[in-house]
């Protein structure tokens, strides 16, 4: 299977990446170069394998259904850009619907 420019643009949107148009041809070529090596998997017989049990580790240990203390070793004030009444103050993000309408501090 080969990817096209449209595929790469679509995937970039899903991944929240803004790709410059001049990079697209190169990326399409690189991704197809990589994906060509994956074709060997298609021909591999995996009928005897359950794809959901391939991570061969101990089962996750059970633990009590309770929250412990936050493992932070420094105060929030020491690393947050700004904090007020126990809340982080972050730059206002305009929404894409009404970017101009809601700019109150």
């Amino acid at each position: 299977m080969a990817v096209t420019q449209a595929d790469v643009i679509h995937v970039a949107e899903l991944a929240r990446l803004a790709l410059p148009a001049e990079r697209l041809d190169h990326l399409v070529s690189e991704l197809n170069g990589i994906l060509a090596h994956m074709d060997v998997l298609e021909k591999t017989d995996t009928s005897a394998i359950d794809s959901n049990v391939s991570v061969p580790v101990d089962s996750t240990p059970l633990r009590s259904d309770s929250s412990g203390p936050l493992p932070m070793l420094t105060s929030r004030e020491s690393f947050a850009p700004s904090i007020r009444d126990g809340f982080f103050i972050v730059p206002r993000l305009a929404t894409h619907e009404d970017a101009a309408a809601d700019t109150a501090p």
Partner: protein, 493 residues
């Protein structure tokens, strides 16, 4: 005060000097900082170290000295300077994953592995260079420029933990932490002539490790000898309530059992070691093949029975890895969107802010893998790529289970198909990916593996790899201790 033999001392020997009062913690730290300057570990030369705070390290040393005076003794790593890969959270030093998107980020908590080393008296002197978000095999994909191999400055130190391996090889620290997803501890350890360990999946807590591919990632120690690596692994292993994927199995003591045995007449008596032919393909560097054959002969002379073994799905490991790892990375790295960490692009609309921040913050290799991972998880391609890769991963795991189920205790292979290559030599992404061909299988199967020096080809270090079954690190170390002792000085010639 500095002391001339600092760069040659093992962590255990240096800790004994500090604990015995012959060297102060401050002297130890000063010696490390002086060696870093002498070796040119900063960006102007080797570019192994990204972040260091000499004042903080000296303060930690003074604090340790006070604690030792009160308690009358130090920990097992008393006064040992350590270097930590820049994707492990540390207090007081940035944690950037060598990426612009995390520029300036300082964690409010510390990785469990780092904290456990500190509890034994270790002092963090440096955060080391790496491939951005651990995506690479050469430490060339760093936002802060490529690191250089201290053995030959024209060559890469390997990756992605190239800064940590290089710092140990250059004598700056006797011990460092790296992380593995597809060989990122063992491959740079092989290229730099040091020891690197990837523990069993779940053996070491990953709390504080910035996630790349969560079904593969593990933290591992890098040291100049097997004993230091064993000690570090003993310390950092074990259950951690902050990491639910961390096993609660008892941690074995590798040192007490196998260090005294290593120099006995037949330390591997009763063991069976498998040599898989798939790890000795025609393209293998002839010099590396010859050094592996020398090690195999030594393993026989140490009492081991050596047998041929088939691992028929080995060649599928790279295609499988480069589907699963990017898929998991595309999900893990979605959190870096300019809202919670690091840099943020200034745009009017929210979606534009996400996209601009990520596009400016991530380098080329990370961008490529996010695109690849998103593609193989997307509707219409999930079954053909991701689900199929997971099934083939099951075949690779079965290869290991079959081998260990037939009475084989450990496998011996080369760590890498070549020695360290020149900076800029590999420009095709897939060609770079192939440098992990002998290491990535252990990550996919979740088994422990380690690399130790077995000689040099053209002056460049070569690593031999020992692989054991799940949670059988003790078996792996038994072989490693014995082989290291048998090779002696020839491991570095």
């Amino acid at each position: 005060m500095t002391f001339p033999d600092f760069s040659r001392l093992s962590a255990t020997a240096l800790a004994a000097k500090v604990d015995g009062g012959n060297v102060s913690p401050l002297d130890s730290i000063n010696a490390s900082l002086a060696r870093a300057r002498e070796a040119g570990a900063g960006r102007e030369s080797l570019n192994l170290i990204l972040w260091s705070n000499e004042q903080l390290a000296r303060r930690d040393a003074a604090s340790l000295a006070e604690g030792m005076n009160r308690a009358g003794k130090g920990g097992r790593l008393a006064g040992i300077p350590i270097a930590v890969k820049d994707n492990l959270a540390t207090l007081g030093l940035p944690t950037t994953c060598a990426s612009k998107i995390l520029a300036g980020y300082v964690s409010p908590y510390e990785a469990t592995a780092v904290a456990r080393l500190r509890e034994e008296g270790a002092i963090v002197v440096a955060k080391t260079n790496m491939d951005e978000f651990a995506m690479g095999s050469s430490t060339e994909n760093s936002a802060y420029g490529p690191a250089r191999n201290p053995i030959d400055l024209r060559r890469v130190p390997g990756g992605s933990s190239g800064g940590s391996a290089g710092a140990v090889a250059a004598g700056i620290v006797p011990l460092a932490l790296g992380s593995e997803t597809g060989g990122s501890v063992r491959q740079p350890a092989a290229f730099c002539g040091v020891v690197g360990v990837k523990p069993t999946y779940g053996r070491v807590s990953r709390f504080g490790l910035v996630a790349f591919a969560s079904s593969l990632d593990q933290i591992g120690p890098i040291a100049r000898n097997v004993d230091d690596a064993a000690l570090a692994l003993e310390i950092i292993s074990g259950v951690d309530p902050n990491d639910s994927t961390c096993s609660s199995r008892k941690v074995d003591t590798y040192r007490d059992e196998f260090l005294p045995l290593a120099t006995s007449a037949e330390p591997l008596d009763g063991m069976t070691i498998g040599v898989p032919e798939e790890y000795f393909p025609e393209m293998l560097d002839p010099g590396i093949r010859a050094l592996c054959e020398r090690s195999i002969d030594l393993l026989k002379s140490l009492g081991a029975k050596v047998v041929d073994v088939k691992m028929p799905n080995t060649a599928l490991a790279i295609p499988v890895y480069y589907i699963i790892a990017p898929a998991e990375a595309s999900s893990n790295l979605a959190r870096f969107d300019g809202v919670r960490y690091g840099a943020r692009a200034e745009t009017a609309a929210l979606r534009d802010m996400y996209a601009e921040t990520r596009s400016k913050g991530f380098g080329d290799e990370v961008t490529r893998r996010i695109l690849l991972g998103t593609y193989v998880l997307s509707a219409g391609y999930y079954d053909a790529y991701y689900r199929k890769a997971q099934s083939v991963r099951g075949l690779i795991t079965r290869d290991f289970r079959d081998a260990f189920g037939r009475g084989i205790d450990a496998l011996f292979t080369p760590t890498t198909p070549t020695t360290a290559f020149a900076i800029g030599a590999l420009t095709d992404p897939y060609e770079m990916y192939m440098s992990d061909i002998f290491t990535v299988t252990a990550n996919l199967a979740g088994v422990p593996a380690m690399s130790l020096p077995i000689g040099r080809v053209g002056g460049l270090p070569v690593g031999g790899q020992i692989i054991a079954s799940h949670f059988c690190e003790s078996t792996m170390f038994r072989v490693a201790y014995a082989l290291e002792a048998a090779l002696g000085g020839e491991a570095h010639q």
